[in-house]
């Protein structure tokens, strides 16, 4: 049997020829490990999505990690308040590259109905969002669709080029600025304070 071409010979011996990019992308897109940031009602829908009925494991993304260091997909599911913003950004910063972000629901996409002093008007002011999912709450199928869209996007990435030429520009929105520390007194002069702030009248001696 001397008519086999070299590539077929290699295949016969258990090899498969492909591009490195395609191999890496195939691995990445089929094993997105989500970090569920369930902040309010959308979190319940997220649980349904991971559970057996909607079964996100059909698309390889069922391994929800509660440690950001083991996750590569941050799903912000719910209303992000300013008090929580620093925590969300810290979680994102702790995730290893490559990482993606899904803003699930109108609350995390744009603040939604909470046009309020307490709510971040869209997590994209502190995180680089890849896919927005509309709905209040979005059905689990909608979020699965977002994951499929993200998979298509990952397919088109060229990781090898990124590795060889160094990482892209990192999105620095919010990083380093969210310096809020719980229970730490913040130094302020009387001029910084809102007139209603109790500390203002104390410093005035009133």
């Amino acid at each position: 049997m001397g008519s086999l071409k070299p590539a077929d010979e290699a295949m016969d011996a258990g090899f498969l020829a492909t591009r490195v990019d395609a191999l890496i992308n195939w691995g990445r897109k089929n094993s997105l490990w989500p970090m569920p940031l369930g902040l309010s009602c959308c979190g319940i829908e997220l649980m349904a999505m991971i559970g057996p009925k909607f079964d996100i494991s059909r698309f390889g993304a069922e391994a929800a990690r509660f440690s950001p260091r083991q996750a590569d997909l941050l799903i912000v599911a719910g209303t992000l308040t300013w008090k929580m913003a620093h925590a969300a950004r810290t979680i994102y910063d702790q995730m290893p590259e490559p990482k993606w972000v899904i803003a699930m629901g109108v609350c995390s996409s744009s603040g939604g109905m909470y046009d309020s002093y307490a709510v971040v008007q869209g997590v994209d002011s502190i995180l680089p969002v890849d896919v927005y999912v509309p709905g209040c709450p979005p059905r689990p199928d909608a979020v699965i669709d977002a994951i499929l869209k993200l998979q298509k996007r990952i397919e088109r990435e060229s990781p090898l080029k990124d590795i060889l030429s160094g990482p892209d520009e990192v999105d620095e929105r919010g990083s380093g600025q969210l310096t809020y520390q719980p229970n730490r007194a913040v130094e302020r002069t009387a001029g910084d304070l809102h007139p209603h702030d109790p500390r203002a009248s104390r410093e005035d001696g009133a």
Partner: protein
């Protein structure tokens, strides 16, 4: 006891700071006046609120063991006073009382009532951050819901949304 009974008792024992009472007005169909619903309440001098609550708690005929709630209200931009509302509940006597104190917006200072009802510690912290009320003598006046470095009292009617927080635009 109903409200009238409680009010008469408060008058009889000369509860400190009691200024008067207010009954809800019935609705009037002719004048389209919807009436002022809600509980009838006792009006109390702010500075004497702790002393008043102490009497309510300790009087054997009233025995309000519980402060069910304490909140504040900003009735409007043009109003000069904030309302501080306390809801008292007597579990043993099965009656309730709403207490209200009018606090001038210019100097919203109130002695703490947490020495009378310890639950009011948290309610006062919330009133403090949301309405900018200072509770004198409060053992732990930190913010309870807002971040510690938040500026302004969000539930005041003339509150303006912050333009930015920690360098991030809020618009």
């Amino acid at each position: 006891m109903d409200f009238q009974g409680i009010y008469d008792r408060l008058r009889a024992i000369e509860a400190p700071g009691l200024e008067g009472c207010d009954e809800p007005r019935p609705a009037n169909a002719e004048t389209k006046d919807k009436g002022r619903g809600g509980d009838p309440f006792c009006l109390v001098t702010p500075a004497l609120l702790p002393a008043f609550l102490e009497v309510c708690r300790d009087d054997p005929h009233l025995s309000f063991e519980m402060a069910a709630d304490m909140t504040a209200t900003d009735p409007g931009k043009d109003e000069e006073h904030l309302w501080v509302n306390v809801q008292l509940l007597s579990v043993s006597k099965k009656h309730r009382l709403a207490v209200k104190a009018l606090l001038p917006k210019a100097s919203p200072v109130l002695p703490t009532t947490s020495g009378v009802y310890r639950t009011n510690q948290w309610h006062e912290r919330e009133c403090g951050e949301m309405f900018g009320i200072t509770f004198e003598g409060h053992p732990d006046p930190r913010n309870i819901l807002l971040p510690d470095d938040w500026v302004g009292a969000p539930l005041r009617k003339d509150y303006e949304f912050p333009r930015e927080y920690h360098g991030i635009s809020c618009e």
